[in-house]
Every structure is written in structure tokens, then in C-alpha cells.
Symmetry: C2
């Protein structure tokens, strides 16, 4: 879909940029000031320490333009820009299988907007499934702190519905039907491997 500014200039979607407010953690009772990313990183560390899986978050892709090399100290990046990721944020290995996923949250209460995913992320997860890997998304409704594990093949049905002119979001009822609920725990925080077991093993 092409959007144009009133002056006729084409609008191109910029890379997803961390919002300034995300730089400081917001403390809420329900998640003790942790973001979804923190929770998943902690979960991955838990799984790694117990030799259950090897899953890491990929670094934020950055286009580096200018670097200073002060003598005798570390190189400083002086100008860089956020690039759009070409894949998902997390991947690794579980029981010999390649595992790949993305985690997204929404402030909307009753549906999850599909614009949270970029087309190349969908393409990437589709390729992963075609090559015999495990691909899924973790969706968090931040207002209620509800978490859902949605296998990629189910997400793809909703994505195609949108491409065919249907609704641009997944209703919460649809999510409840097609996904596995994840309950926030202590260790691990988000036990997504339990859902992987249920769906893929």
C-alpha cells in the first residue's frame, strides 16, 4: 500500500525505531518493570543455562556512517541510523531443530494489528517453515499482560486474509482459538518451549 503526503511526496515507512520512553523501564505491577524483550532474554538465558536450548536475540541492525578512532581509546560511532531488520529478532536451536520467532506487543485491547509485522519478516518465517524449521510469534496484550504463542502457519492464514482484502488485524477471539496461551512465570518468565513441544513435537 502506498501512502502519499498531501504534497504528493511518497511516504516510505521508516525502520522501526526504539521510542525514547522505551529507554527507561516503566514499572507496572503486572510485569515488575520488565519489557517483553527483557522477559524473553531472561527466558533464553534460563534455557541456555539449563542446556535446554540455544536461543539468542539478534543485535539491532544499524547503518554506521561515521566512526571516530580516538588514540588509545575505544572507537566511537558518531553517526548511525536504525535499519529495518531483514529477519526476525530471535533464533537458535532446540532439540536439534532450527527455531525462529518474533515477539510483539500491542496496547489495543481486543485485537492485534498485523502491521506490527513487516512483509520480509513474514517471508523469512515462511522460508524457515519451508526448510523444516520451527517459526512462531509471541504476542503480548500489554493492557492485560496476556501472552499468546501463535505458530507461523496460523499467523500466515490471517496475513493472507489481509492481502486478499480482509481485516488488517487478528481479533482476540481468533487468537484464543488459534494460539496457545503463555502464562508469565518466574523461571522461566515466558515458558514458550512448552508451547513448542505441544505444537511441533
Amino acid at each position: 500500500m502506498k501512502i502519499r503526503y498531501p504534497n504528493g511526496k511518497k511516504y516510505t515507512q521508516p525502520a522501526e525505531v526504539p521510542k525514547p520512553r522505551q529507554l527507561k523501564k516503566e514499572a507496572t505491577f503486572s510485569n515488575r518493570g520488565m519489557t517483553l524483550e527483557d522477559d524473553i532474554n531472561e527466558t533464553n538465558a534460563y534455557y541456555l543455562n539449563r542446556s535446554m536450548a540455544v536461543i539468542h536475540k539478534k543485535p539491532v541492525p544499524v547503518q554506521i556512517v561515521r566512526v571516530d578512532y580516538p588514540a588509545r581509546s575505544a572507537a566511537v560511532i558518531k553517526e548511525a541510523y536504525f535499519r529495518q531488520a531483514s529477519t526476525t529478532d530471535y533464533n537458535g536451536i532446540y532439540k536439534g531443530k532450527y527455531i525462529d520467532f518474533e515477539a510483539k506487543e500491542t496496547n489495543i485491547a481486543s485485537s492485534f494489528p498485523l502491521k506490527n509485522f513487516h512483509e520480509h519478516q513474514i517471508t523469512h518465517m515462511k522460508q524457515v517453515e519451508e526448510h523444516g524449521g520451527i517459526a512462531f510469534v509471541i504476542i503480548r496484550f500489554s493492557k492485560t499482560d496476556e501472552l499468546f504463542f501463535l505458530p507461523f502457519h496460523a499467523l500466515y492464514v490471517f496475513w493472507c486474509r489481509m492481502l486478499e482484502g480482509g481485516r488488517k488485524s487478528i481479533t482476540k477471539n481468533e487468537l484464543i482459538k488459534e494460539s496457545i496461551p503463555l502464562s508469565l512465570g518466574l523461571a522461566p518468565r515466558i515458558p514458550f518451549l512448552d508451547a513448542v513441544e505441544k505444537v511441533y513435537f
Copy 2:
């Protein structure tokens, strides 16, 4: 190994930083101005386009300190530092299997120094093998443009020899014995999946 400056101050190894000269491509006859990274990225694109494998390079890990958000234009990173990667540079999926590797080059003619690897990269590749994945390194001797595919389990033997007080490098003769030579081609540039087939399938 701890190294100390003459003043007694501890030396901590900084993150690997791209050297300024690497920012412009050096044209040599043998590799037509391409770096090892360029060659591998092109190879991965070739494999992806032909649906042979889904392998991507991870972004360079950067610690972002300061970001400017100018109104109506893209966010600009104004201060950031290179961080040391906690894993290898490349991973993905091939024939349903998790695949993970690192690529390194040396200017030395007759041996490959093991200090090119960080300990956590070795740890990471070991974990990958323990979970049933495929881990290896691609080593390039830049003077002669020779390329070797060394499975991680073979690299690990040399790594342990070093830890036990033995030599801190792999001689070229040892490499020839333990690895599979890769010949630089046109499409793909570095046919490493042929070596993966030979060793793991």
C-alpha cells in the same frame, strides 16, 4: 590469560572493531575487491534465492548511548560503541538442520592464530553441537586466497591443545589434514554447503 600494562593496569581486550581501511574495499586481482564477508553474504543470497538454505549474517552488535530524534526525520544515533559479539556471525537452517558458523581471515602465510576466536564463540559453537546443530568455521589465508572449511569438532581439538599449554595456532599442514578446501567460484562464491554435505549428511 591476563595481560598487564607496565603500570600494572589490567589490559582488557576491546571488542573487535572494523578497521578504517576495511571501510573501503581493497581491489586485488584474486578476489576482485570483495572481502570474505562480501563473498559469504553473496553466497548466502545465492542459496536463499535458490531455496537451498536460509542463512543470514547477524548485525554488528552496537551499544547505543545517545539518539537524537529530529522532528520529521529519521532518528540519528549520535554516540554508540562496538560490543563484542556473544555468538558467531552467521546462522540459519539447511535441510531442516540448524547451521552456525564464523568466518575469519589471516595475513599470516603458514598458520592460523587461534586468537582470532573469542572464548564465548567457542562456547557457543560447542553448545550448538551439543544440541545437534552444525557448527564450523571458514578460514581464509588472504595472501594466497586459500579457503578452508573446518568443522567445529576439529577446531575444538586445536583449541583444547592451546588451553593445555600447546601451540596457539593451527599450522597450515594441520588445516589441510583436518579441513575441506573450498574453491572460490562465481555462483556461489564460496560453496560451503558442499562441505556441509560431505561432513554432516
